[in-house]
Amino acid sequence: METRRPQLNLDELHQVRWLLGNGLALISIATVFYLEINAWVLAAAAGIVVLATLVRPTLPAHLPPLAHKLAFPFIVIFFAWDLYSTGEVLPAMIRLDLLLLLYRGGSYRKKRDDLQVIILGLFLVMIAGVLTVSLTFAVQILVFTAVTLAFLFVITLVEGIEGDPAAPAPASAAGVPAWARVRWRRLARRVRDVTDWRLLALGAGLFLGVVTVSALLFMAIPRFQLESSFFLERFMSKKSRTGFSDTIRLGDVVDIQQDNSVALRVDVSDPARVPVVPYWRMVVLDEYKNGTLRTSRRLQNEMLISAQQAPYAMGPARPPRAAAVFWTFYFESGISRHLPLAGPFYLLRFREPQWFQQQNMLLMLALRNEPVAMTAYRIDGMATDGFIPDRRFAGILQEARAATPDRGGAPEAADERSRPAYPLTTLGLPDRTDDRLTLRRAADEITAGAHLTPHDFAERASRWLREKHGYSLEVPAPAGGGDPVVAWMKTSQPGHCELFAAAFTLLARTAGLPTRVVTGFKGGDWNAYENYYMVRNSHAHAWCEVYDGATGWFRVDPTAGGGAVTTGQQNVAGGAANLQNADRSWGARLDSIRILWYRRIVNFDQRTQLALVQSLRDATNSFGAAMRYSFDRAWLSARMWLRRPWDVRRLLTWAGVVVGAGVALEFWRRAGRTWWWRLRGRHRSGRADPVRRRAGRWLQKLVGSRGSGDESRKVVAELQRLRYGPRAGWPEPAAVFRRARRAWRSGRRDVAHAPDGGGAAEP
């Protein structure tokens, strides 16, 4: 006898509702931990309270009624104070959201409170997604959606049973609802008993359908390019790493190198054009003073003045003549507002209009504010040879020299305002005379009295530094006073990239060569799975650019162990080298999912949508032709196959195939179809039973037949017992079927010999 699937009673449904509601709150609270907002304490407190009440639903009953009355005023006052003290709207709203979740998760909820939990949770998840544009958001929104749908489903079931949603849940004298005394193991067993795996599979399929439909909707929703910028960034500020700001101290870049997370991903339309060791320029630091490198005030002002809001930026390079190479950058947030560039470019496009500052003379491009989310931009026509053309610099430098009086010593007395401005900053040296003398001696040692071209000097100076110092991230502070870089040069201690770059800069400037320090990333890992460049924070680097005296700046990387010193000696056959050294680790595999997220989802725009429509149209057009071609080929193959000579082996092979197919068909008839009917739940009415089905077929044949009366009726009666009767009262099925066959044949004979000619044969 079939047993009915049990059902959850009202109390158990309440318990599941409580579980899902608090689980939803926990999922939402977890977003705050990767949101990088100063709300961790509050998030931890909310998480603990919600988790505790989730495990022990009787806890909220201990909350005094006064707490419920004071909760709302307290939350409002807290929000007002938070907003007033911090001045940031979005973090204050997130903290407000957390407080509300804490309260709702820690107290008994009615239906509208459950809805509030959903809205509060969705707000947190959505804000986290918008602010981080992280792949985690995709996972989290899917989990959130699944739990929310289950939550709403249970709420609807509870409401359907209770009838009146406004009716309060029955509570005991102590204020504890009856359902709150949960025994989770028992509930788990009950849920397991109630669950039908077919329905579970169907639910999973439906959810997969939701994801598919939402993906289709995402692609199909019409996009319009509205000229407005992203609004949430106005309500929130973010600090980036100091190593990539306008001012850095020695060691700042090294700090970044400790982090191995991916900072930049670069998609290239032609991987062969990627240099072996690309340098991603971010900040140009032309001024040096006492161990601090910075962009000079004049250049900073020019950057500030150049601020504009536009969806694209024009670079100093000319339009590419040959087939253009597109570079798509996905620059993570929290690193810098300066965007990495490999060299002079023609055009840079943002996903949406952005406020940005641009200095083409330095080839620097920075967003006005620190980006709170991943920044994506595409560059057309970018040079990667490490040379920055700048023919105007020589003239500017000459004018500046002519306009600046010779101070004739006592440079230590010079204040901030009287310090030389750009472009003279590219020749700036330490203020102390003994430091300058040290540098002069070193420069003389490098040149050996010869007049060297800038390239030769760079080569020799780099070699001189490399011979004298090794590479190390751990650099002890040099003893004695004076300039720290000069002090380091005096020793033979190893150094990091910033020390090498700063030392080279001072040496070159001492030799009269305009030189500047550039920070950014060097190199990267080629992802073998999705073919893109992964640049990690550990690839942070500092190097130099030296003016060649007439045409522009060439790159010099003096750091020991850093490979080739100057440009022109590297960056050839990059694509092949990159593919050979591609990263095939699990980390790269996981990271490739993130680039897919960026490519297909985050970077999806109107242009991509149009391209998708076009490709769909093309695919549709080509599908018919491809099908016709395939059919023609199959037909031709079949004809050729038939014309081939038939030998015994071939015959046996195909006979085996036919027999195998027959066996499979018979197996399906005997077992597979029964299984399928059982799967569809028809076994309840007994139709899945093969004996009953066979009896049904014979009944169809015999009912209405003109066969001999008594025998036919008896057989029909027995067949009906087999078809509909209880199994205990069955006659022998095989015998009944034999008699049914005889009765049917007899009926056919009667029909054939009937005076009217017999008519049609029985079915």
Partner: protein
Amino acid sequence: MKTAAESSAPSAEWEGPGCGRRRRFRWSELLWSIIFPARSHRIKPTLTGMVLISMALGIGSAAYNTASNILFITLSLLLACLILSGVMSWQNLRGVCWRLLLQPPLRAGQEAPVTLELWNRKALLPTHGLWFELSARPVPRGPQRPESTVTATSADIRAAFARREAEAMSGRLRLRERLDPDQQARLDWLFVPARRGVVRVELASVGSLFPFGFLSKNHGTRLRREAVVWPAPVAYRVLRPAAALRQSEGERVARPGSSDDLLALRRYQPGDSHRLIHWKASARLRQLLVRQFAAESAEGFSLWLQTPAAVWLRPEQFELLCGLACTLAEDLFTAGQLVLTAVNAEEPLPIRRVRDLESFLDRVAVLEPEDGDQRAEVSGQPAAPKPLGEGGRTEVRGQQVGDEASTAASASRPPFVMQRRNVITFAPEGVRGVAAFVDGNKTATA
């Protein structure tokens, strides 16, 4: 809840999406039904649905203003959830049949049970969370006029509708448990008919919030059942003991009972004693027949109900008349003393079985005062019966009164003449009361 394996196809009483032949799915019909839903199909957003729609609008606006794909994803998910909700809701209702069962007798002023049977004919999916809007309203007697005219004001129309609605009783039944595939469930609804007549019980709509409570969906139905409501029993006062009413020459009643007199033969039914089988008759007719004996013959009464409109001027008095007549008929039948009933000039109905009594009650339930075209001729005055004439008999002559068709039909029959003793008649007593007379002697009042 029980398995519905006893029959694979629903009978004609069943209605709902799961009944009848499955129509071929057409996209055009689906789209058209979304644009222009059927008259009784209503979809209304709930609080949850309003929240969802508001969120979708807000997120959509933000997405277009910021070109943020994260917001577009969220918007897509919200819209996909709405689509999923629609699909699941459709699946929930698909394959469900329902039928209304009324369990007579229905009596005014007493609770009447209405049973709604549900059948989930789906193969795999259960059905959850349905509710059923039921209503019971009296069917107006006689020809009806329109509730309003073209010149009526809106207030008049509203008042007319309000009057109609005030007469109706409505209730909501909820399917609180899961209805598994191929299972049936029964839901009971009790209502109290206010007055006698014909009541129409209607399943107005089937609603659901399933699955997520975004939309309240009402699926209108045309399932209705009509039933006769008998008059409410009334308390009456007996002025003379019943025994004294009995006349030695009273009518005798023959009905199934346990005396030695053979009344009839009937088919054998499971549970009948084998001793009662009439073997000869069974052998002759090739089926088992059992003997049915008569009850003790007893003196009986005939009940004659006359309702001339000129006599029964007050509606409440007329209602009391109907109630008293039915109550007396039932009491007399219970005592085995009811022989015959007659209503106005209609053909008298011998009362032998319960079914005969029920027919009389059914007739009284829809009885109305008759107009002046009364052709029944009654010796004596109907409104104030006189004591028995010669021989103590009451003579009734007449024919059925009704529309022309029935009059023409009855004209072909000879007018019946009834001469009996112990005929109970009725007359108004005072302004509110009703009196019952036995052969002209006042016997009971109500």
